[in-house]
Symmetry: C2
Subunit: 251 residues, 2 copies
């Protein structure tokens, strides 16, 4: 469907070197760009120095486990706090954002089809659903981290958006760390290339590349762009493919 | 089940005469009392000078309609903001609150049984789910206000909590406005008494009495207490019935 699904990485919206530090200038600039988009939009954001900071502190992971209830409370609270900063910037910029934590449209890590449909209908109504990686209840006394990157796959699979965009703090996928030259196009069928790429990328970027490949394997093109140059998000939403790395959807 | 379901009215947690003014002192005092409760707890709160302020401004009601998307955005944003103030006070007081907007466990105004069950399981895990009246998507381009009082009925019906408590800014239901004497016990079967009471109460209080009667008609006792004297919430949760108006559950 005609829809831009945009992930704002934690490294774009927060200062990852300092706990609980939002990148207010970056968020305002992105909010301005998003308000100018003339198409339905769903935003997903990561945790950066908010949720991620606390989940590390409380040793919480994607694996369902009986994590400390205190950790569950503070991770969720900090994600809502970061979400509020983004939502307020978007309101100020003229958008009509609506915060949606993942349990609205997931049961544990599983999508609820009717609820995801509902979220996309809101996006058709000039509302911008804004969702985020979070700690979620898995049943019993178990909780789990459901990452913003996983939410991208869940939403992309269900909605097949016309644009899938990951905004990170780099220009795309590097060919190698020395030259920092960007790979313009990647094809998920090329296993060798992915292995080579994955050796060069670490941590968060590796997970993003993996999620991008997962989404591309479902037949959707994915753009990885630098969110610290916010107009590239708008350019990618408008259809430009030369503003970062294009991961080609498998035909 | 052993569970206290507590509604914090907008008149308790905000200053209704000023827009966007939280009653920080009142919230802190209530958070301290709630942290001392030794039983599973679910908190519901109203909108007061936050969500209610904006819903009046944008002419939004419980009736599903294509309300201004700007109104949808700012009502929801302001409710999350008020919720954050309450959640942060609860974290500080030592509880482990977890914010849950209504679309997590409702589809429009209808309860989702499995999700409400999940919320109650969280409450058994030393987490305190904190939910709130909000603007919700009703399908298509329609939205609606789902009030905190309605959420009380939805949650009480599904969970049959051992304690159902409405905290307002008065000591209970007045016998009449002149004496301000409190009715100690009301029985929903007594239609005359309800008619008489309803004539004396206005606006928010009337709706609370109606929801309390609805819940009582399902066989649960309901206490209406003064939340500006927070220990009464704890006393009512502990089983005292002389700290406000008791609406007797129909046997």
């Amino acid at each position: 469907m005609k829809l831009a699904l945009v992930k704002l990485g934690g490294s774009v919206i927060t200062h990852k070197d300092r706990p609980l530090a939002a990148n207010a200038g970056g968020i305002d600039a992105i909010a301005k760009v998003l308000a100018g988009l003339d198409m339905p939009l769903i935003v997903v954001h990561g945790g950066g120095s908010f949720g991620h900071h606390w989940s590390v502190k409380y040793d919480m992971h994607t694996k369902p486990a009986p994590y400390d209830p205190r950790g569950v409370a503070v991770v969720h609270e900090s994600m809502v706090a970061l979400n509020q900063i983004i939502v307020n910037a978007m309101v100020k910029a003229g958008s009509n954002p609506y915060a949606i934590p993942p349990p609205v449209y997931t049961a544990g890590h599983k999508p609820i089809a009717s609820k995801i449909k509902g979220v996309s209908v809101m996006a058709q109504n000039k509302i911008v659903p804004v969702t985020f990686g979070d700690v979620v209840h898995m049943g019993g006394n178990k909780y789990s981290i459901l990452s913003g990157d996983s939410l991208m796959s869940i939403l992309a699979r269900a909605l097949r958006p016309s644009r899938v965009i990951f905004a990170t703090n780099v220009n795309g996928i590097y060919k190698d760390m020395a030259s920092k030259e960007i790979v313009p196009v990647l094809r998920p069928k090329s296993g060798v290339e992915f292995a080579k790429v994955s050796a060069d990328v670490t941590g968060g970027m590796k997970r993003k590349v993996m999620e991008a490949f997962k989404i591309a394997s479902l037949g959707m093109d994915v753009m990885l762009v630098n969110g610290l140059v916010p107009e590239r998000i708008a350019q990618a939403a408008g259809g430009r493919r030369d503003v970062g790395t294009l991961v080609k959807g498998k035909k």
